[in-house]
Symmetry: C2
Subunit: 392 residues, 2 copies
Amino acid sequence: MNINENYLKLQDSYLFSTIAKKVKEFADNNPKADIIRLGIGDVTLPLAPVVVEAIKKAADEMGIKETFKGYGPEQGYAFLREEIKKYYLKKNVDLNSDEIFISDGAKSDLGNILDIFGLDNVVLVPDPVYPVYVDTNIMAGRKIIFADANEQNGFLPLPDENIKCDIIYICSPNNPTGAVYDRNGLKKWVDYALKNNSVILFDAAYECFIKSKELPSSIYEIEGAKKCAIEFCSFSKTAGFTGTRCGYTIVPDELVREGVHLRKFWLRRQTTKFNGVPYIVQKAAEAVFSDKGQEQIQQNIQYYSENAKIISDTMDKKNIWYTGGKHSPYIWLKCPNNMSSWEFFDYLLNNAQIVGTPGSGFGRNGDGYFRLTSFGDKQRTIEAMERFSKLI
Amino acid sequence: MNINENYLKLQDSYLFSTIAKKVKEFADNNPKADIIRLGIGDVTLPLAPVVVEAIKKAADEMGIKETFKGYGPEQGYAFLREEIKKYYLKKNVDLNSDEIFISDGAKSDLGNILDIFGLDNVVLVPDPVYPVYVDTNIMAGRKIIFADANEQNGFLPLPDENIKCDIIYICSPNNPTGAVYDRNGLKKWVDYALKNNSVILFDAAYECFIKSKELPSSIYEIEGAKKCAIEFCSFSKTAGFTGTRCGYTIVPDELVREGVHLRKFWLRRQTTKFNGVPYIVQKAAEAVFSDKGQEQIQQNIQYYSENAKIISDTMDKKNIWYTGGKHSPYIWLKCPNNMSSWEFFDYLLNNAQIVGTPGSGFGRNGDGYFRLTSFGDKQRTIEAMERFSKLI
């Protein structure tokens, strides 16, 4: 009996536990302090009313023999895949509904998709980045190389023709930096992938925050992307589904490697190791696409976007360099006075009682940077930025 | 870019598509035929009223900011893990709630658990068996050996000391055979695993059909099992959750291999590649454990068990050899007159308009056997057995 020894190479992340410990210490020493948390990566607004109604209606259906639903299709019900197909048509992306796979969230599929690839592929991951891309590949023992994201490239690295890689992660709008690729930037990645026979894993979990038609919110807006990219998306940030769990993955028919349609491999993976998303959750997701649903979720996205603007306006006023905030719920700022990420964390907590996330927790290039998020309460965000303005 | 070439070794199963094709042909040629389906492996009774109410109440909570739930713990909410802990206490199995991981169903976790094991382990799978055990290991390229289940051993194979294996699948009550290990049988497997440092993956998805305290419904009822077994269970058959998706996996703290607590590896796997089960679904599962919930789901289990008895009584009357039916929703019968599985399928369809599942679809040793299930309507099951009695 052998364990998967790659797991022993994983580094434990102490990022959020260290934050929690430091905040607790501060609160214990300053029991009257009014701490504002702008580090949260989770939504806080409730599910939209039409979504709640859809769940309740679906629950009633499940309670009656004639309308009860047992096992559903592993790749998701047609009613939801059709809505997603229509959603992509608005982006001028024409998908076959067989190319759309309903998932229990982007995180699961971003990890599970690796099943269909060989173990000796070289993986390219931007740094800093959402830690799951790195950890899932360490678990499989793949070689990982990093693409440096930094102030010089606006935290949007471009391909280097001298470096060969097989699997490429792109997250745009990015977590944690909030930076968004324009068409030209994404086209360079697509061209690289087509030339080098690579596959791009495109994480579009934050696409709903993009407010300009000029910026691509799907990689398939770029010509040729269907031949080299898999796209992951989620209702988590779009519709507050972080605790409701629904997303989708797109594997285009045109994506062929070694003569194999990767869509067929993914379908085989899902039919073998997955049994679909709950019917009640798929009905909830369907409701998001109704006219009322779109109106209601846009109110929430607007709310978070206004918070992001409150934060980014403060950075502008203070001449602090940052990315994100405009087409993203994240603001990634350069720590003032050349402080390290953790120095700035302590400084902000001690002097303004604001909690954020040290950029060093997301990779080597994150040190000296800091993430603030717009998922909090508006009045608290305003209050936090008033304190910030006075302090800095 | 290399694909996972192990996927090319997977055999497509044409079992259910062939059944569908044959039934369609028959129906087209005999438009007035009244076909009864006893091949179905899915539940047909609706969710219990308390479960429906729990979902609706949870949906309302999700619609209010103060009670909204975002990301939950990847291993599941404490409220549900505590109920499962109490459920096991009734079996005299004392679990720490940290050993319980809430899943979106046994199928997902049975596949995903393999992540934490090395690729060069030898896997032992009974034949016939639920095809997922084989396919998930083919995907990983592991060597698979089979334990012959047959009439001689009552479709309950026991360990062979001359055969060494690292990962052992046991499903009891079994799918497809309905056979159930007694304490003595399971103890032999536990002893083998302890002696050979193997890990047993125990699929207990059908445990709720066991009606005798004499038969173990958890492998942890066997001494030493916590040192060598992981148990998978599900609300799918227990409470009709096939379309609602919830289960749980137990990785005991005492299970250590190569100095590693496998529980910690599994926790790392889940926190990296999974984001938990929907809050509304966990509240639904919690309701199953309420007094009313237990009463309501027992009515459904009773209904299916009565169907199973109707079928097995018919087999008894006709002196047909079978396993299952008593502590299982499945009846696994020997085809009369030495017919092959598919010959009997055609015979039953053509002469009694009953659809079942050919045993050969579950493995080499399944040929000559046939699976009937008790998940259908009671009156239809009675009607089917009347036709069966007249025919055979």
